[in-house]
Symmetry: C2
DNA sequence: CGATGAATTGACATGACTCAACAACTGTGG
DNA sequence: CCACAGTTGTTGAGTCATGTCAATTCATCG
């Protein structure tokens, strides 16, 4: 499942960083050939099937990951056994930043869809973030994005009635900003994102379908009535 | 209210960084005399009275702040006008990191108690974070801490029954880890932290007092029964 | 001492949870 | 292709927690 890429191939091969298809937003996109010469451990690609675990909370962190495609959930467990999804990872998102500081991962990351990832050795990231101002800046932008996401999770997905939280979630699901279509997550995952039971999640979605806020194109693939959903959020 | 400190005084005066009372945890604690020579705009101290606003969301960000003492709330507003407190800032916390990346502040920060802050010019932070590996590392640790706090906010303060959320909040309030005493926030602020109405906050606190989970030492200053509160969280 | 805002409490309405039955979908083996 | 089991989603009925609105008490400060 893991395709080996040496550091030479990393900037000169078919699956390299310098010619990456998500180059403008991948972590190492600002690096030069010289930078890659400094990396000893290879950069690797990996494909995860739905349900498989990338890493768990407490695991020693040795790699930083960029999501090339797919969707993953970042989960934390509570003392009473309840689990909460604290963020989603999708294309161009970076996973595992926390191990650069605390040495360990702090979430359990599980693929929801088939997902492709690139992974970077911790030492390479730490070293290059000092040596390369571009990467230094980019890393800070990644922290910033993660924190903004977390703030949005608190305000939009954890505050207000179940209908408002659901509307906020649905509005975030389409991949592109101009798209109004998306796949639905399992009701259990939705519940774990919005802090509600799966029954309430199911009921709310059924209600949205009945009232036309969303319409099912095919099983679990829906079209959003964006203005109407925004009205729910603001109402 | 603002006491001017030149860059010379910053490492040689009475209110300087190198001899700061929270030196081991202040932002510029790892800097050398040479580093301070590179800072042109002075580092300043400031005292905020309860209720006063440090900055608002959308303000252009020109300074990073370290909290020397006191307590501040970081607030975001929702489309429906509801406001949510997304984090608290207390001694050694850094405020305003986001403007290093996005140019603007993303929260409204309001002092809850009388608070003392130091502020660092944005350019100095950006420049030194490249030049000084210590600060670079420290900055990353600050991002990490903010993100961990946000994750805890999602899991512990936004998930579960009102009693569990309240117990989790109370357990975080004492300043020192070994302290079991703390001041209570206004019921409205508690509500805005825990996503509940101020009435529910008030009722829950009254209930905790009746059942001995907390006991009032004097008005709004309480002693926690830590094991009992932890039992509530885990129950 | 009175005026003001904060906190508490009560009564009631309602949204969300619980438990349970059932329906729809998925994958497997015959 | 169908039958089946296992999983996931839907729906209903009843309960409980939380929100709403209102009245009252308490704390603070001039």
């Amino acid at each position: 499942m893991i395709k080996r890429v040496t550091s030479i191939q990393a900037w000169n091969g078919t699956a390299d960083c310098l010619n990456c298809s998500i180059r403008s937003s991948a972590l190492f996109s600002g690096l030069t050939e010289d930078d890659f010469d400094l990396i000893h451990e290879p950069i690797e690609q990996q494909t995860l099937e739905p349900g498989s675990v990338l890493y768990k909370a407490g695991d020693p962190g040795r790699h930083l990951y960029t999501v090339r495609s797919g969707l993953l959930k970042m989960v934390q467990y509570l003392p009473d056994g309840y689990q909460r999804i604290v963020r989603l990872g999708r294309s161009t998102d970076v996973l595992g930043l926390e191990m650069l500081v605390g040495q360990h991962y702090q979430h359990e990351v599980i693929a929801l869809n088939t997902s492709e990832l690139c992974r970077y050795p911790k030492e390479a990231v730490l070293h290059l973030s000092q040596a390369n101002p571009e990467l230094h800046k980019d890393l800070m932008a990644r922290w910033h994005k993660a924190l903004s996401e977390a703030d949005a999770w608190i305000t939009k997905l954890s505050t207000g009635s179940s209908k408002k939280r659901m509307a906020n979630l649905l509005l975030r699901l389409p991949d592109a900003d101009d798209s109004t279509k998306c796949y639905l997550l399992s009701r259990e995952d939705i519940g774990s994102i919005l802090s509600m039971t799966l029954e309430t999640a199911s009921r709310t979605i059924s209600d949205f379908k009945r009232t036309g806020l969303i319409s099912e194109i095919r099983h679990n693939y829906i079209e959003l009535d964006v203005p109407a959903l925004k009205a729910v959020v603001e109402g």
